[in-house]
């Protein structure tokens, strides 16, 4: 449900990157999403075209990179992969862990078109 709000925030952020670099448009947008971010990649992908319509990234490819969930055990120190609802240590089973990755919602990089567009803007 809230993925449209996230897509709108993404469009705003990419737009400011386009402006900062005096580019004409964005061709590829790479976003890193961990399962613990609470954003469903498929829903974000379908919300993006709605949010990007008429903007300088409406033809951009949205590359959603899945971040695995990784935890570090505070008891035994092991770094292991974990499931969304079982963030316990994969080595000793203790629940005193810290999430190292898997809760990201990160605009990682943007590829910009710097050449002037051949098609005049209407």
């Amino acid at each position: 449900m809230h993925e449209l709000a996230v897509a709108q925030a993404l469009v705003e952020q990419v737009d400011s990157v386009i402006r900062q670099h005096n580019a004409s448009s964005a061709s590829l947008i790479r976003v890193r999403i961990g399962p613990l971010a609470g954003v469903v990649p498929e829903l974000l992908a379908s919300a993006f075209p709605l949010a990007a319509a008429g903007s300088r990234m409406e033809h951009a490819e949205l590359d959603l990179v899945a971040a695995p969930i990784q935890v570090r055990c505070q008891t035994c120190g092991a770094e292991t992969e974990a499931a969304l609802n079982r963030l316990i240590c994969g080595a000793c089973g203790d629940w005193h862990t810290q999430v190292l990755s898997g809760d990201e919602l990160l605009l990682e990089s943007v590829e910009l078109e710097t050449a002037p567009s051949l098609i005049p803007e209407s």
């Binding site: 449900m1 809230h2 709000a5 996230v6 925030a9 993404l10 705003e12 952020q13 990157v17 900062q20 670099h21 580019a23 061709s27 590829l28 976003v31 890193r32 613990l36 971010a37 609470g38 954003v39 990179v65 935890v71 969304l84 609802n85 079982r86 963030l87 316990i88 629940w95 005193h96 862990t97 810290q98 999430v99 190292l100 990755s101 809760d103 990201e104 919602l105 990160l106 605009l107 990682e108 990089s109 943007v110 590829e111 910009l112 078109e113 710097t114 050449a115």
Partner: protein, 268 residues
């Protein structure tokens, strides 16, 4: 963090920044949280609270788990001790704000229309319409929803997540993003446990621990006044802790958010 000088580049992520691409195009590394704008506003809200010595608490749960009833009982219990204020978030109606006002407490209703969560901007606009002088506790009752509110920082210091015994005790396992964000979990409506044989509070707590969450799990019934003292004591302790932090120029973000900032490494 900085967008201009490149100080957000680390040995772990710099390969993302300088990726060769086709002629006429350039790749730019951003490495910014997607909700940066919301988070900036949330930080601003937090500064507001800190300057005034307010402890802001975000209440989240499914619809009907007893957030407003908990607030009513809490506000009455704290009446002689503290000044409280409430922001209510609902899709429609002023009903909840009216229930709070009936207890003699300032309440502002945010009507979200169709939006399923509050965000930092909505809360900021609400703050500008409230009298915050002398307020000790600001309770923000989020939209009843176990999914979306977890992703939006409002500027609160603490997240409190309610789980009523009429729901399943495996809710923390089903909605891990929400329950991982809790600084305290309240098992509510415990007076009904006598007639509900399928809810085990111990199991609910075990599911919370499986999310690596050390938050206290308190059991209470706001309607029957059961277990309220532990919750009220926790609130008093948290306010004292917040005041002590502010006195030395510090603040607090809900646990997982600061954790995430500190620990995030980008590995592509």
């Amino acid at each position: 963090m900085c967008d201009t000088c490149g100080c957000n580049l680390t040995p772990g992520n710099q390969h993302l920044a300088f990726k060769p691409v086709a002629k006429g195009a350039t790749a730019v590394s951003v490495l910014k949280g997607l909700l940066q704008k919301n988070d900036d506003q949330a930080g601003h809200n937090r500064e507001h609270f800190d300057r005034r010595g307010i402890l802001a608490i975000n209440l989240m749960s499914s619809p009907g788990s007893g957030k407003t009833a908990l607030l009513e009982a809490t506000l009455v219990a704290l009446k002689d001790e503290f000044t409280c204020a409430v922001i209510e978030g609902d899709l429609e109606t002023e009903n909840d704000a009216e229930r709070i006002r009936a207890k003699g407490v300032q309440a502002h209703q945010i009507v979200t229309g169709t939006a399923c969560h509050l965000d930092a901007h909505l809360v900021h606009d609400a703050l500008h319409q409230m009298k915050l002088d002398g307020v000790d506790f600001l309770f923000i009752e989020n939209v009843g929803n176990l999914v979306c509110p977890a992703s939006f920082d409002l500027g609160q210091h603490l997240n409190v997540t309610l789980l009523s015994v009429t729901e399943g005790d495996d809710k923390p396992a089903k909605y891990p993003v929400m329950f991982r964000a809790a600084d305290a979990m309240l098992v509510t409506k415990t007076d009904l446990l006598a007639v509900l044989d399928d809810f085990d509070p111990d199991k609910a707590e075990a599911h919370l621990r499986h999310l690596a969450n050390p938050a206290p799990a308190m059991r209470l019934s706001a309607r029957k006044g059961l277990g309220m003292e532990a919750w009220l004591t926790w609130l008093r302790e948290q306010l004292a802790a917040q005041r002590a932090r502010v006195a030395i120029g510090q603040s607090r973000r809900p646990a997982i958010q600061s954790d995430g900032q500190r620990l995030h490494r980008v590995t592509a």
